[in-house]
């Protein structure tokens, strides 16, 4: 079947989608967006977290057909998504969002792979790099999407709020402490801007 939906602000179509296929599979294998990670396939790890109509969900547990006509934001579109949110500009020009080509080619390294300098990063992405919250990186995309959504809702989260918001995202490298640091850092910087 064909599924038409909005990905990172742009309309997309996926063809030859099997009826039992997950949104995650469509994103990775049909649209070429491997940022959302495929790990547990049962909603335990949160590595595949995306926004569906603004709400964080495990894309492995959303049937592809269920996203027909709906809006999805993936980690590849997070930088543009955050930028537009910050500018509160809406989308008058109609040129918002992230094109599929840009999303497919998106990389955090920019000119400097250590600091991310030169790359277009969302504040939460920059905070993860600055706090050293990325080790193997497999859980990172899901954590970024979940953390970004929490900061949108709750600009001044307590540690308990952060732990709760990220409780559906497993990380096996960092012991979570640097991830906590990163989210605290992103929240603090967000506060400075406002």
């Amino acid at each position: 079947m064909r599924v038409s939906f909005t990905v990172n602000g742009r309309p997309q179509e996926a063809d030859d989608v099997w009826e039992g296929e997950s949104l995650l599979y469509v994103l990775r294998e049909r649209l070429g967006l491997p940022g959302s990670k495929n790990a547990c396939e049962q909603g335990e790890c949160g590595s595949c977290t995306v926004r569906l109509d603004g709400v964080p969900v495990c894309s492995c547990l959303v049937a592809a057909g269920q996203v027909e006509g709906r809006e999805v934001v993936t980690v590849e579109g997070l930088a543009d998504f955050a930028k537009q949110r910050a500018e509160r500009g809406g989308c008058a020009s109609g040129a918002c969002g992230t094109s599929l080509q840009d999303a497919q080619g998106w990389a955090a390294q920019g000119q400097d792979s250590q600091t991310g300098e030169g790359a277009e990063l969302s504040p939460v992405q920059q905070a993860f790099i600055d706090a050293g919250a990325v080790q193997c990186g497999f859980c990172t995309p899901g954590l970024l999407v979940a953390a970004d959504e929490m900061l949108e809702r709750n600009p001044n989260p307590s540690d308990a709020d952060i732990r709760e918001a990220l409780s559906g995202n497993l990380c096996r490298c960092t012991g979570y402490e640097t991830i906590m640091d990163a989210v605290r850092l992103a929240a603090a910087r967000q506060g400075e801007v406002v």
């Binding site: 079947m1 099997w18 009826e19 039992g20 997950s22 396939e41 049962q42 909603g43 335990e44 949160g46 977290t49 709400v55 964080p56 969900v57 495990c58 492995c60 547990l61 959303v62 049937a63 057909g65 269920q66 027909e68 979940a146 709760e164 918001a165 409780s167 559906g168 995202n169 497993l170």
Partner: protein, 296 residues
């Protein structure tokens, strides 16, 4: 596999009547796991996401009519006052991502003994509103669970809503697992005080083939509270009464040994949770009662 996408409840009922083997999918947090792991290849998937009515709730005089697809997140945010036990149970469901998608309709449809909502529904008192093209009916929650992952639905029926009695007293919910998030219950316990009828109701999860009430324990406690005038005098519950209640709750279990825990551990834990939730709710009731008396 065919993917059916009804745009209205009527269309959904018609589709289910035409294809009784169709598997309804709303949040997908159970169904997609089975498909991802190749445990299930349904002929038809019946997507309920387009039916907005299922995500709405109405607060009535006596009860809350909770749409089958109202996600747990919304229950926690909006119905903590009316449905405190279910709100607490909702909070223990998996993770934010799962609570954003999953709802009580899915818990009932799957009818796993480990479903987090069941003990809270049993304790509060609820009816499941199911419908088919033949008509609508209300199934009392006590008659809904018919076996391991089996329920009282006919092949052409869909769950429209759950009608849960609004709390008339304190409610509590307790769950045992290896960590706070992302845990399938080793066992769980819900308890609701109903001062209006001077009764106590319970619900046990993951400790029998189906979610069950500890009816003998309830009867014992109702009689003991009545006999001692506890509802009026607001005294603390005698430790021997609490212990007997806990033992009877443990006795209501019919658990198995599995990867999550042993049968004897489950029985023990249910007893502990019964005593604790009784104490918590009763302390809360006494506090309210004392305040009311003070004002009067």
């Amino acid at each position: 596999m065919d993917f059916l996408r009804p745009a209205s409840w009527e269309e959904a009922l018609a589709a289910k009547a035409e294809h009784p083997t169709a598997v309804p999918i709303a949040g997908g947090t159970d169904v997609m796991v089975e498909i991802n792991f190749d445990h299930r290849r349904p002929e038809y998937l019946l997507d309920l996401n387009r039916i907005g009515d299922l995500e709405e709730w109405e607060v009535g005089a006596e009860s809350v009519r909770l749409g089958a697809s109202v996600p747990y997140t919304k229950i926690m945010e909006n119905l903590r006052g009316e449905l405190p036990g279910l709100a607490l149970a909702s909070h223990t469901v998996a993770s934010p991502q799962i609570r954003n998608r999953g709802g009580v309709g899915g818990n009932l449809g799957t009818a796993s003994p480990a479903g987090d909502a069941h003990p809270a529904l049993l304790a509060a008192g609820a009816e499941v509103e199911v419908e088919s093209v033949r008509g609508s009916r209300l199934i009392p929650i006590d008659e809904f669970y018919t076996g391991v992952k089996r329920n009282a639905l006919a092949a052409d029926e869909l769950i429209r809503a759950v009608r849960i009695k609004k709390a008339d007293g304190p409610q509590q919910y307790s769950k045992v697992g290896t960590r706070n998030a992302m845990v399938i219950a080793v066992c769980a316990f819900g308890l609701a005080l109903h001062p209006e009828t001077r009764t106590v109701r319970t619900g046990i999860g993951s400790a029998a083939p189906t979610p069950v009430r500890a009816k003998v324990a309830e009867e014992f406690l109702n009689a003991a509270l009545e006999e001692g005038g506890f509802w009026d005098n607001g005294k603390i519950i005698t430790p021997s009464v609490a212990k007997q209640f806990a033992d009877l709750c443990a006795g209501a279990c019919n658990p198995i040994d599995d990867v999550r825990g042993t049968a004897s551990y489950r029985r023990h834990a249910v007893g502990v949770m019964a005593r604790r939730t009784l104490t918590w709710t009763w302390e809360s009731y006494r506090g309210t009662a004392a305040r009311t008396e003070g004002v009067a």
